[in-house]
């Protein structure tokens, strides 16, 4: 158990990444009840947008300057693609049977992957991404935090805080809650619900771009397929936390990240389960956790059933 603090820290960093991506699933679902299966690709596009921005900067630009610009560039790319997808792929299907937008989302996901694969220079294999140089922070003898992990551990709570304040305090945030709870009545109040829906897609896409930069600086590379499994995990996190609940997305992400990290470290120590531990099985344990939680709490950890007397 000597390495437990380290495993928890690793899980927390992974979970923060999941949570950032999960926000996009949960916000869109909360407002239009659509599982945007192309959101993993929105995350991937954010990464390539950030990389393009980095390439455009003069060589030798300090990462302190470059990273914020990369987040902005990545967000511009991901928000543009997400809002275009909303406008041209999902909005025409707003009143169609639910299966239609779902299939559209899957199609869009494949199309976006292939577009990047085909047209982004050298993207047929992984492309390198700037890493944060420097040693890990030694906190104690058995806990050190990589700089890239510190990056996501600081950014994710800041993003969540900003989003929480926006949703609960601002006029647009209030309108967003109203639209999520009752779209027709929101219109009666004078709320332009189409604009609120675009806003939900845009916020989710911007958070995904932050996550993509965090992912890139950690791995030192990105690729056109990276949105698939990460998107799936983030979707799992959103469901685990209670889809539609923005805090649930973060909680679900952290629980999932820590569970994965602990499964990698400890399951192989359990007698008779040596074969089922290590990194190869971490995805399996993540989904086992999802199934177990949904058996007990189908609405997810923070999902709520408020009494709506009608």
């Amino acid at each position: 158990m000597h390495e437990l603090p380290q495993q928890l820290a690793n899980g927390l960093a992974l979970g923060a990444l999941y949570g950032l991506i999960a926000i996009g699933y949960t916000m869109v679902y909360g407002i239009v009840q659509l599982i945007n299966f192309a959101h993993g690709e929105i995350f991937m596009i954010g990464g390539f947008g950030a990389l393009t921005t980095y390439t455009a900067l003069p060589s030798g630009t300090s990462l302190l300057v470059a990273i914020p610009l990369m987040i902005v560039g990545g967000a511009i790319a991901s928000v543009a693609v997400a809002t275009a997808a909303e406008r041209f792929a999902y909005r025409p299907l707003r009143n169609a049977p639910r299966l239609a937008p779902l299939i559209t989302a899957i199609g869009l996901s494949i199309a976006l992957q292939q577009l990047v694969w085909q047209f982004y220079p050298d993207a047929k294999k992984a492309v390198s991404f700037p890493e944060i140089p420097g040693e890990a922070f030694e906190i104690t003898s058995n806990l050190s935090i990589q700089r890239s992990d510190a990056f996501v551990l600081i950014l994710a709570p800041l993003c969540m805080l900003a989003l929480g304040l926006f949703v609960s305090k601002s006029r647009s945030g209030r309108a967003m809650q109203a639209t999520a709870q009752d779209p027709d009545t929101a219109k009666l109040m004078g709320i332009n619900t189409d604009r609120i829906i675009v806003m939900a897609f845009a916020i989710g896409a911007a958070f995904a771009a932050v996550a993509a930069v965090a992912y890139g600086v950690d791995k030192g590379q990105i690729n056109f397929e990276m949105g698939f499994i990460l998107g799936l995990k983030a979707f799992t996190a959103a469901v685990l936390g209670g889809i539609g609940n923005i805090y649930g997305a973060m909680v679900g992400g952290v629980v999932l990240g820590i569970a994965e990290s602990l499964s990698i470290a400890y399951i192989e120590d359990i007698p008779g389960m040596q074969q089922l531990g290590g990194g190869a099985w971490s995805n399996v344990w993540a989904f086992v956790l999802l199934i177990l939680v949904l058996l007990v709490r189908p609405q997810g950890l923070l999902g709520e059933r408020v009494a709506d007397r009608a």
Partner: protein, 238 residues
């Protein structure tokens, strides 16, 4: 003088099924007008069409001198038409005060909004006592009060109330009707849909009787109350 609201030959269909089959009616400023009729008569459809939530297949709607035909739902309230929908539809996970603030979503005058929230609390003291409580935890009658208070927050020229007494206890129903009478005495123009025809027609200056999408009868509230057909069909008298 032209009426505040003028509806001419309005037709509304859900797919191939026509729910409103060419009705005409009008509401003069300062009047309370009641639309009565059984379930499926097209009353709620009519109100939702006026609000822009449903597009009519044909017909003319003129409100305050302006055609409503091409105005999207979220812009209707800014013209002075407020709608308290059937089934109340308060925002359940927002507080009472937040619900009221949303009623004033398009208004910019902060002080005026504060004053109007206070007025809503004066009209319905229970809402003031529970202002921080989630609206979904209120009783049906309290939710109805909130829905009416929220509709008033836009300072409408015309208030549309869809079944305000539906599902309420007799005491609560009476309270809601008294409130509508108070609003009337203050000069509010109201278009009222009510299943309680007796109460609605007693309050109304004018009434219309809808039957499966067509306008069957109209007259002053008093005339309709003594009309034999109305008494048989809607007041349950032989």
């Amino acid at each position: 003088m032209t009426a505040l609201l003028e509806v001419e030959d309005l037709r509304v269909a859900y797919g191939k099924i026509e729910a409103v089959k060419g009705i005409s009616f009008s509401v003069e400023a300062g009047q309370v007008v009641a639309l009565i009729g059984t379930n499926g008569a097209g009353k709620t459809t009519t109100l939702r069409t006026l609000s822009g939530l449903i597009k009519p297949t044909s017909g003319k709607i003129t409100f305050d001198g302006q055609s409503l035909s091409s105005i999207p739902a979220h812009k209707v309230v800014s013209l002075g038409l407020a709608h308290s929908p059937e089934g109340r539809h308060i925002f359940p996970r927002l507080s009472i005060e937040e619900n009221l603030q949303l009623g004033a979503f398009l208004r910019k005058d902060k002080d005026g909004i504060e004053q109007d929230i206070q007025k809503a609390y004066d009209l319905f003291p229970i809402l003031g006592e529970r202002r921080k409580q989630a609206a979904g935890t209120l009783s049906g009658g309290e939710q109805q009060m909130l829905a009416m208070g929220r509709a008033l927050m836009s300072r409408p020229k015309l208030l549309m109330l869809d079944e305000p007494s539906m599902g309420l206890s007799p005491i609560m129903m009476q309270k809601i009707m008294e409130t509508i009478a108070t609003l009337k005495s203050e000069g509010m123009t109201i278009l009222l849909i009510e299943q309680n025809a007796q109460a609605a027609l007693s309050l109304a200056d004018y009434g219309y009787v809808l039957e499966v999408g067509t306008m069957k009868l109209s007259g002053t509230g008093r005339d309709l109350l003594v009309n034999d057909d109305v008494r048989k069909t809607y007041l349950g008298e032989e």
